[in-house]
Amino acid sequence: MKSGGSLSIWFFIGLSLLVNGALILGRGIYELIAPPENRVVLYELHANVWWGGILFVVGVVYTWHFSPARERARMSNS
């Protein structure tokens, strides 16, 4: 679904996942370097690294696929 311009709703979702994923992944990598004193249960699985990574990758794919430039190109082709 498009709005007044060329931004798709899926672009906003991709942007949200990308930013949140980057922040969580970044924090996870930092914790690998400097492990915290107070650890959550199953800390050793490093959920923030792989979960943040998944969100980041999905976010990149959505943001790229539904980027304004690609949307404009699709609209002009159709």
């Binding site: 679904m1 709005s3 007044g4 311009g5 931004l7 709703i9 906003f12 979702i13 942007l15 949200s16 996942l17 930013v19 949140n20 922040l23 969580i24 970044g26 924090r27 996870g28 914790e31 915290p36 650890r39 959550v40 249960v41 199953l42 800390y43 699985l45 959920a47 923030n48 979960w51 943040g52 969100l55």
Partner: protein, 589 residues
Amino acid sequence: MKTTLLIVTSLIAPPRLVHLSIVDLVIIVFYFALVLAIGLYLKERANTGEDFFMAGREMTAWVAGLAFLSANLGSLELMGWAGNAYKYGILAAHWYWIGAIPAMLFLALVMMPFYHICKTHSVPGYLKLRFGPGAQALSSISFALMTVLMSGINMYAMAVVMKVVLGWDLNFSILVSSITVAIYVTLGGLRSAIFNEVLQFFLIWAGALLIPIMGLIEAGGWSGLQAKILQNLTELNVPNPGSYTHLWSTLGKFSDNPMGINWAGIVFGLGAVISMGYWTTDFLVIQRVLAAKDLRSAELAPIIGAAFKMMVPFIVILPGLLGLALLRDPQGHLLRLVPADVAWSPDGQAQGLHGYDEVLPLMLARYCGPGLLGLGITALVAGFMSGMAGNVSAFTTVWTYDIYGALINKNASDQSKVKMGRWVTVIGVIVSIGTAYLVMHAQSIMDYVQSLFSFFIAPLFGTVILGMLWKRATPAGGFWGLLAGTLSSVGMYAWVKVDPTAVRYVALSSQAQDQAQNMFRALWCWLICLLVTVVVSLVTQPKPDAELTGLVYGLTPIPNTGNVPLLQRPVFWGAVVAIVFVILQIIFW
């Protein structure tokens, strides 16, 4: 949901459950910035009535379907049902499966053509076309009143939860969240609400899905979880410990399960009446589907919603069950959550007790460190805001079209309706805030209003379904049936309040808990609505067939979808969802 109500009735400030880091705060602030940016971006596309109130009727099936589900997926829904899963076990999943899926498929395949073809703006609008202004006025006034009150109650409840979990000030939570919703709905109307609901849907899953994944790893899978629950509940001398992980096998007798209900209450009260009433006539969710771009999208949207609804127990019910299996106090003893009134009493606070509804935040804090915690909290906030935006946008439409346009200014222009819609959005939020503060000072109101809301749903379903499927139903029959069903529901509720022993008549068992009472009360008032509608219709003059075209089965030409490929047919995907639904019942029998 009584535990939900009880937990939010306390103003005592407990020690906060979690502490946020800088990265958590950045994630939360980014979320607020993004939803406001979406509202600003969409303001250009909300100039006509169709744009502002119906999002231009151009939503794809996916967008309408996800918004349809998201509007229902409020944060209290998440936390309340996780708490109910802790309290009642897997029986709580009935509210997501038999209590939703059949109704959503029925809406898609049976009722949606009538809603879509008659081009109504609202459910009360359909009642006006079918039964006349009397039924429209009754349903629109009750819906508008209850929606805005419920919005305020949810706002207050969310603020208290934020205080419990994060230690945030009540006023801060209420004002920041409600002003944000007011801004983006006022700017972009329903389109903005739907855009944000889809975004919120993704955030809810991204923030909550990690809990069951980590929980199942810790518990040793589903079989490990079952074994741990059985062991823990046996240790605590809880009756019927095995019933907490079985969906149907303990519903033969009222006394065999923790809810005090039998299969008839679940199947007929919940599956046939309450869920049908909610998912097919509550305008809060129906409005999203009415915004679909064509009939096929409108039929597919509830089916897409149903497919995801079937998965919601994974992020709501499973964390409650995991809490039963895994939560322990700092000394390593089993942590037994208690009713909110016990947890929030001075004694409960002194002992560090937690209420049922805290199970989801407790599990969140158990597995989620900095960053993930911020995303989890964002999921809860997003859930609240999607629910509130749904309430506000539905209230605005019903007020503008079914009260202002029908009763106050029948000649209102399209532009004046849009202007009215923007003002009513702001006023609706202000009334909601007022309700939140009213509840803060008179908390018993909350219990009554929550119950009142359910009074209207079951009879409304009776009126709408007879209107769609029985052409002989007359305007007088529709009005009096709706009124009789509503009054009988109120009467039964009052009867049990005055004389608690009456529960054995209303719910067929003196052991019936709140949820069981709701099921049976809905069933009786729905039957009364049907009976009165039929009797009055048979003695009054029906509308001529020509006036019922597009509104009633048998008199409405339904577009043929037979030449569409199988994979694009709503009925095919409806069948797929129905088969998965049956398989889930068998797996968890």
